[in-house]
Amino acid sequence: MDRVVAWIARLVFVFLYIPIIALVVYSFNSADVSYRFEGFSLRWYAELFADQLLLDTLRTSAIVGVCAALLATIVGFLSAFALVRFRVKGRAFFLGAIVIPLIVPEIVLGVSLLTVFSTANVPTGLVTLILGHVVITLPLATLVMMGAMSALDPSLSEAATDLGATPWVTFRRILFPLLRPAVLAAFLLSFTTSFSNIVISTFTAGVGTTTLPLRIYSSLRTGLTPELNALGTLLVVFTLAIILVVGVGQMRRILAGGTPPPTN
């Protein structure tokens, strides 16, 4: 049965990459339209690099994504830790408040955030954009971290305390290393959520801080140009390259669970 599950999982990975492969193939399409493949050409890559406006939005999205994801992961980690390992009064209310952004439709949230910013005289721009993205990524990061922390065996920290470790040392040497995969998961999830967000960005962006997906969504009426396939291909290749460069070995050292981290 494990074998069956493993094969299903592998199939799912293939499923995940099917449109990506289509994307890559069509990025080299010489035809004007996306649905027909005519021949090999690099024209879309040339157009992409000439499109300064689009590249600016890419930079904005990347910056906002990293900032929002960092903030969400850190705050989410702290909150999850407090909620799971301590008895907190009003836990249910807090949890409820945290997941509200998931329930309320984005357009409603976006418009009301804009109203709040504008009443408070906060000019829209990079900061409001990041704040808006934190609102929708914080619940993700918190829930992911809570899930990881709840599943941790409590006897581990008890054992550490019994052996004379202070809470801080227990945290640093036992808990945090075990939670690192979850931290990575929370960060990655928050980043991609922010990177692909359209609606909140529409309302919280300011002049000159249009994000990439926003730019693309607004070209829906005039048609998406195939240069976007080139952009997608480059992003995929770029990230794959990072994985290779950072190296499996590095990852192993950083994230191998269970074994104590090297003493620094």
Partner: protein
Amino acid sequence: MKKMLITASAIAGVSMLALSGCSASTTDAAANDSLNIYAWAGEIPDSVIAAFEEETGISVTVDTFDSNETMISKLAAGNSGYDIVEPSQYAVELMVERDLLATIDKSKLEGFENLAPKFVDPSFDPENAHSIPWAWGTTGILYNEACTGAEVTGWSDMWNPDYAGKIYMLDNMLSAYIAGLQVNGLSATTTDEADIETATNSLLEQKELLAGYNSSNYADLVSTGDACIAESYSGTTAAQAVEANPDVHYIIPEEGGTLWTDSFSIVEGTDSEDAAYQWLNFTLRPEVAALLTDDASLASTNAAALPLVADQAQVENAAIYAPEADLENSEFIVDPGEALTFFNDGWTRVRAS
């Protein structure tokens, strides 16, 4: 552990730098040295922006929106930071009622006389007090003759059961009602409740025959034959489909069809007024307006620009410039005002049926 802290602080540091770099650049520019424009994507060619920047030295930032409503929401919230916006005709009306647009001082304009008569003193903006039309188009029908097997002449063909499952309507209430009203011989600008009810019933009937509501890739679908007939806007995507496939045609329905126009307006309270007028005058020049057709495949409102268009085939393309004869019965879609509730209720019923 140390490595993680270092990496984390490095990322944070770089982000802060980037952040500060970004905000610095937007606050440095003095009021009249910069112009912030909020417009439809693909309607202001890069060539126009570049030429403007070079000639005036004013740095232009263009942000794009996906719909008039989004744009109005952002402006209504206040302090949007934009100087020029590009609303569609009904949006101009709405924004004027909400005091979002500045009155245009005609004495500061040069080249206003270049505009075609249709766009001077239009119904939606008397005396062009608040908007200078830039691009225009029509809402009509895009169809694939190989798929329909016959010539299509009007909205009534979109109710033809022979094409069931291959008909698309635009995913837009007012656009759908254009068809619903005109197919019944009613005016597309009516505010009469009974008229709207008749149209609603037609739309309800039509829904069973529809493949769906589509405002994005309908042109591709018609081109490949997945769709026989679709309600369509004139412009870039329609033109592309017509050029790519000789079986694809764009027509103004015989019942009338409608006109849309996207205009430049000055945002009320802007601090870059001079730059804004420079932009208006620049875009009123025939050679600049001609770039709209050449580089963006859209119809220009500037009559003097037509002979200057380099690629005259675009001027002949009915999917961009509708022939005058066909436009006899076309009207501008304007804001329904109080009648909006009738449309809303009808549309909710149609979409939920």
